[in-house]
């Protein structure tokens, strides 16, 4: 059936201040990596803007309005020390959500087996009413809620292997019984949440912290022993991935030592569960990853596996 790739030039309108790690060049590196000959088979589509109806599945209208009112005409407005709005930031964030929703719709319609949304800004730190950690809207959470509400699904899983805890996704899915949110992340590290005792209102949140300086062997053990069995027990009808590539050993913002091969392994392992329960339906969205070469190589490894499984 094939693998979809969602992208849009509008993502480049989210320009961050000089020296900011979450920068336009990240997506340039991803596009460069996915322009290699082995990726010609990708079905490429433009990420549409989402609507306020979509956003308010996760965020109060007042929050959406507050961000719109804060949008600068030029330069930047800082929402916190990490998170900044440029004139094009809201269009980009709406396309990040819209790309995820379009990917879910297309995969549900059988237009492709799986999809990767190459978007900016990332989303997994955005809480119900708080932009933080480079994130404005909870794209993956909105996609999960959309799958439940629009497609009538009963069980949607979100697996987040970004090196930072997905506190925003945890906040937005905490009281959503049709979802299972699983996060692996370095601890201690930003944002400080993600301890194993944080388990959601319906036992639907699973946090698996990884110790600093650990690598692929420890990650594979954590996934094999804890995460994949829990995902398998949940029997998801759709699997969403918050694909951050900042657990890579070259990443400047964390201390885990994963390689591109580890990202390929974890992708394949998640696809195995999706094939067992969800007809192989996987929608993956870009979160972090701040070393450009490592990001390009890791996305290539990740999307390569999606293409193999989606063929």
């Amino acid at each position: 059936m094939g693998t979809l790739l969602f992208d849009h030039p509008g993502f480049d309108g989210h320009v961050t201040p000089p020296g900011h790690p979450e920068r336009v060049d990240r997506l340039v590196a991803v596009r460069e990596a996915l322009s290699a000959p082995e990726f010609t088979g990708l079905i490429r589509r433009e990420a549409p803007e989402c609507t306020d109806v979509d956003l308010t599945r996760a965020h109060p209208q007042a929050y959406v309005d507050r961000l719109a009112a804060a949008l600068p005409v030029e330069g930047w407005v800082s929402l916190d020390a990490d998170t900044h709005l440029a004139p094009g930031s809201l269009e980009a964030a709406r396309r990040a959500v819209g790309g995820n929703l379009a990917a879910v719709d297309a995969v549900m319609a059988g237009e492709a087996a799986n999809a990767f949304v190459a978007c900016r800004p990332p989303g997994h730190h955005a809480e119900r009413g708080t932009a933080m950690g480079f994130c404005l809207f909870g794209s993956v959470s909105i996609a999960a809620k959309h799958a439940l509400a629009v497609h009538g699904m009963a069980r949607v899983a979100v697996v987040d292997f970004d090196v930072h805890h997905g506190n925003g996704t945890q906040d937005l899915l905490w009281d959503e019984p049709g979802t299972l949110f699983i996060s692996s992340h370095q601890m201690p590290l930003y944002p400080g949440s993600g301890a194993p005792h944080e388990t959601g209102a319906h036992d639907n949140v699973m946090n698996v912290p990884l110790a600093p300086m650990t690598g692929g062997a420890e990650m594979r053990r954590a996934y094999s022993d804890e995460i994949l069995p829990a995902l398998d027990d949940f029997a998801p009808e759709l699997v969403l991935i918050s694909a951050g590539f900042d657990a890579h050993l070259e990443d400047p913002l964390a201390n885990l030592n994963w390689t591109a091969a580890d990202f390929a392994w974890v992708t394949a392992a998640i696809c195995d569960v999706a094939e067992a329960h969800a007809g192989g339906r996987v929608v993956s969205t870009l979160e972090g990853g701040y070393d450009l070469a490592a990001l390009g190589a890791s996305v290539a490894a990740h999307v390569g596996v999606l293409m193999e499984r989606g063929a």
Binding site: H20, P21, D80, A81, D82, H125, M132, G133, F134, H164, N167, P188, L189, Y190, P191, G192, S193, P212, P252, L253, A254, N255
Partner: protein
């Protein structure tokens, strides 16, 4: 971030800063971009504290006892 060199810090000062860093990291009030630098200073402080503790342990272990079981000095002292 403190300018004090870790290798010049006393055990007590290093522990105090380490506890402050752990509290800060746990609180979530740290910027994403700065979190890693804070963690790395915490890790260096922990290594420094562990080295200080190990040195103290070795000193204790080196205390020699007389025939009544009372401390009579350290091996290092006697060797001098």
């Amino acid at each position: 971030m403190s300018e004090i060199k870790i290798e010049e810090m006393s055990f007590e000062d290093a522990m105090r800063e380490l506890e402050a860093i752990v509290t800060q990291l746990d609180s979530g009030n740290v910027e994403l971009e700065k979190s890693i630098a804070l963690y790395e200073r915490g890790a260096a402080l922990k290594t420094h504290c562990e080295a200080k503790l190990k040195a103290a342990e070795e000193k204790v272990a080196a205390i020699t006892l007389d025939s009544d079981g009372a401390p009579k000095g350290t091996q290092a002292f006697e060797a001098e």
